[in-house]
C-alpha cells in the first residue's frame, strides 16, 4: 500500500513537472498580457509586477472582439458541421464496403493537404472574387471545410471500422437502408470517435490563420486575423499581442477543458479492439 502511494506521489511529481513545462510558454504569455509593454521586455524578466488590464482595454478599443469571436465560432462550427455531413456517408462506404481502391482514395484525399496553401492563393482568390465570396463567412467556411475534410473522412473511417459488421448485416436483413444504418447504428456506436473528430476539426478551424488573413478583412474576419493586427507594429507589442492571444486562445482552452475526456477517449483510430 505504501509502495503504491509512493509510486503515485512520484508520478504526481513527474506528471506535474511535465505539465508545467509544456504549459509554461502559455503561462508566460498570459503573464505578459497583464504587464505593461515596458515590463514585458524588461531584463531581467519580471515574475512579480503590478498587473494591468490596459492591454485588454486597448484590444477592445481597437477591434470588435465579439464580432471576431462570432465569426470564429461560425467558421469553426459551420465548417465542421458541413465536413461531417459530407464525410459521414463517405466514411460509411469506405468502412463497410471497402474495395481495392478505398485505401487509394483515402490517401489521395489526405494528399490534397500536402500542397502548401500559399501555392494556390492566387487561383483561390480569383475564384472567390468571381463568386463574390471574398470577405464572407460562406467563403471562409467553404475553404476551411475543404482543408479539414480529408482528415475528417479519414478519422471517421477508422472509427467506423470498429463498429461490428454483424450488427449492420442484421439491420440490413431487416431492410434498413444505408441512411438508416448510419443514423440508427453507426453514429451511436461510433459516437466517441465522431465527437473527437468534430472537436479536432473545430480546433483546427479555429486556429487556421492563413486563409482567414488572406481572404477576409472586416465582415468575416476571425480572431486569427485580429491577432495579426497586434503583431509586429513599429514599437512595443508583446504585451498587447499576448492579451489578444489570450483572448483568442481562451475559448479553445475552455472547450478543451470541457471536452478533454472526449478527446482522450475518442482518439482511438480503431486501435481498441
Amino acid at each position: 500500500m505504501r509502495q503504491r502511494l509512493r509510486t503515485k506521489l512520484q508520478f504526481t511529481a513527474i506528471g506535474w513537472f511535465a505539465a508545467l513545462v509544456m504549459a509554461f510558454p502559455i503561462f508566460w504569455m498570459t503573464l505578459a498580457a497583464f504587464k505593461t509593454e515596458i515590463d514585458a521586455v524588461a531584463s531581467p524578466p519580471l515574475l512579480f509586477f503590478t498587473p494591468t488590464l490596459e492591454n485588454f482595454a486597448e484590444m477592445q478599443e481597437r477591434i470588435d472582439y465579439i464580432a471576431h469571436f462570432w465569426n470564429s465560432v461560425a467558421v469553426a462550427f459551420g465548417a465542421t458541421a458541413l465536413a461531417l455531413l459530407l464525410a459521414i456517408p463517405a466514411a460509411y462506404v469506405m468502412a463497410f464496403y471497402p474495395g481495392r481502391r478505398t485505401q487509394g482514395i483515402l490517401l489521395w484525399m489526405l494528399s490534397t493537404k500536402f500542397m502548401p496553401a500559399v501555392g494556390v492563393l492566387v487561383p483561390i482568390y480569383l475564384l472567390l472574387r468571381d463568386a463574390h465570396l471574398l470577405d464572407t463567412r460562406t467563403g471562409l467556411i467553404v475553404i476551411t471545410l475543404f482543408g479539414n475534410l480529408p482528415i475528417v473522412v479519414w478519422m471517421l473511417y477508422s472509427f467506423f471500422k470498429e463498429v461490428p459488421r454483424e450488427i449492420l448485416e442484421a439491420a440490413r436483413v431487416d431492410g434498413a437502408g444505408a441512411l438508416q444504418q448510419i443514423v440508427r447504428l453507426v453514429l451511436p456506436l461510433a459516437l466517441p470517435g465522431v465527437a473527437s473528430t468534430a472537436l479536432l476539426s473545430i480546433i483546427m478551424s479555429w486556429n487556421e490563420s492563413f486563409w482567414c488573413i488572406n481572404v477576409t478583412e472586416v465582415n468575416a474576419a476571425t480572431l486569427a486575423l485580429a491577432i495579426a493586427s497586434f503583431s509586429n507594429p513599429e514599437g512595443f507589442f508583446w504585451a498587447k499581442l499576448s492579451a489578444a492571444s489570450v483572448a483568442a486562445v481562451a475559448p479553445m482552452l475552455v472547450l478543451g477543458w470541457c471536452t478533454q475526456r472526449q478527446l482522450v477517449r475518442g482518439l482511438t483510430f480503431g486501435a481498441v479492439k
Partner: protein
C-alpha cells in the same frame, strides 16, 4: 475519371466475395459528394496552378505578363536554394516526428498512471495544441528565446553561462523545437488513448515474471503502440511538410538558407516576391512530391491502418 468508375470495381469485388450487392448504388452515391467536392477543390486550383507555372506572372508587373514556356521550371531547378529547401523539409518532418513521438510516448506513459490532479495536469500538457502557430512562434522568439531579454537568456546568465543565440546558432533546431512543442500534445493524446487499452493483465504478468519496466515497454507496450504511432506519423507529416508560419515569424528562412523549406520557398516566391509564375512552378513540384509521399505511405505506414 469519374468517382463512380473509380469505385465500381471495388464494390464488384466485394460482391464477388459474397456480400449482398443490393446496396451498391446506394453506397456509391454516398461517397460521391465528399469525393467530388474534394476533387473539384483540388482540380480547379491545380489546373490554374499548372497554367500560371508556364506564365511570366509577377503580381506587381501586369505589363510583363506572358507565356514563359518552361522558364519558371528552369529557374526553379537551377536555383541553388532548392536542394537546401528539400533537405530542410525532410529534416523538419523527421526531426519533429522524432520529437513529438518521443516526448509524446513519455508523456502518454506518465499521464496513463493515476496521480493527484491528473485531469488538470493533462489539460495543461495538451494546451499548446490550442495556440495558433504564429502566436507560439512570437512568444518563443521574443519572450523566451531572445538572447538578451528572453527568459532563457536570463536563466543561463543567472547560472553563470553565456546566453545562447538560438536562432543564430541553431536555427533549424529552434524551429523544430517550436513546432515540436505545438504538436507534442497531439501525439500524446493519440498515444495516451491507445495506452489506456493496453492489456493490464499482460503487463502485470510480465512484471511478475520479473521483466524489467524497460522490457515491458519494449515487448508489450511498444508493439501495442505501433498502430497509433503510424497514425501520428501520417497525420503529422501532412502538417510538418507545410510548416511555414513558424519560420516566417522567427528566422524568415535564414540565416542564409538554414531554415528555408519547400513551403517557405513557395511562400517567399508567392507572397514576399509576388512571383506567381515561380511560386506555381514550385507548387507543381510540391504536388508531385506529395504524390510520391502518398505512394510511400501506401507502401509503408498505410499497412498499419
Amino acid at each position: 475519371m469519374s468517382t463512380t468508375t473509380l469505385y465500381a470495381p471495388a464494390v464488384a469485388r466485394r460482391r464477388g466475395r459474397g456480400h449482398p450487392g443490393f446496396f451498391r448504388r446506394g453506397t456509391t452515391w454516398l461517397m460521391a459528394p465528399a469525393v467530388a467536392a474534394l476533387f473539384a477543390w483540388m482540380i480547379v486550383p491545380l489546373i490554374l496552378t499548372l497554367w500560371f507555372s508556364v506564365q511570366r506572372y509577377n503580381l506587381q508587373d501586369p505589363a510583363g505578363r506572358g507565356f514563359a514556356g518552361f522558364d519558371n521550371y528552369v529557374y526553379l531547378f537551377t536555383d541553388p536554394s532548392l536542394a537546401t529547401a528539400l533537405l530542410n523539409t525532410v529534416i523538419i518532418v523527421v526531426g519533429d516526428l522524432a520529437v513529438t513521438i518521443g516526448v509524446g510516448i513519455l508523456l502518454a506513459i506518465v499521464f496513463d498512471q493515476p496521480f493527484f490532479g491528473r485531469g488538470i495536469a493533462r489539460l495543461l500538457a495538451i494546451a499548446p495544441f490550442f495556440v495558433m502557430p504564429t502566436v507560439s512562434a512570437l512568444v518563443w522568439k521574443n519572450l523566451l528565446m531572445h538572447p538578451v531579454y528572453g527568459l532563457f537568456a536570463w536563466i543561463a546568465n543567472s547560472l553563470g553561462f553565456e546566453a545562447i543565440d538560438w536562432f543564430g546558432d541553431y536555427p533549424l533546431a529552434s524551429v523544430i523545437a517550436i513546432v515540436g512543442w505545438e504538436w507534442t500534445p497531439f501525439a500524446t493524446l493519440i498515444l495516451l488513448t491507445s495506452l489506456q487499452s493496453v492489456d493490464r493483465e499482460q503487463v502485470d504478468a510480465a512484471h511478475l515474471d520479473g521483466a524489467s519496466p524497460l522490457a515491458v515497454f519494449r515487448f508489450v507496450i511498444l508493439p501495442h503502440l505501433a498502430r497509433p504511432i503510424a497514425v501520428v506519423v501520417m497525420l503529422e507529416t501532412i502538417f510538418f511538410l507545410v510548416v511555414y508560419a513558424e519560420i516566417v515569424v522567427t528566422t524568415v528562412g535564414g540565416p542564409g538558407l538554414a531554415t528555408t523549406n519547400l513551403s517557405f520557398l513557395i511562400y517567399s516566391r508567392a507572397l514576399l516576391a509576388f512571383d506567381v509564375g515561380g511560386a506555381s512552378a514550385a507548387g507543381v513540384l510540391a504536388i508531385v512530391l506529395a504524390n510520391v509521399i502518398t505512394f510511400l505511405f501506401v507502401r509503408t505506414v498505410a499497412r498499419q491502418m
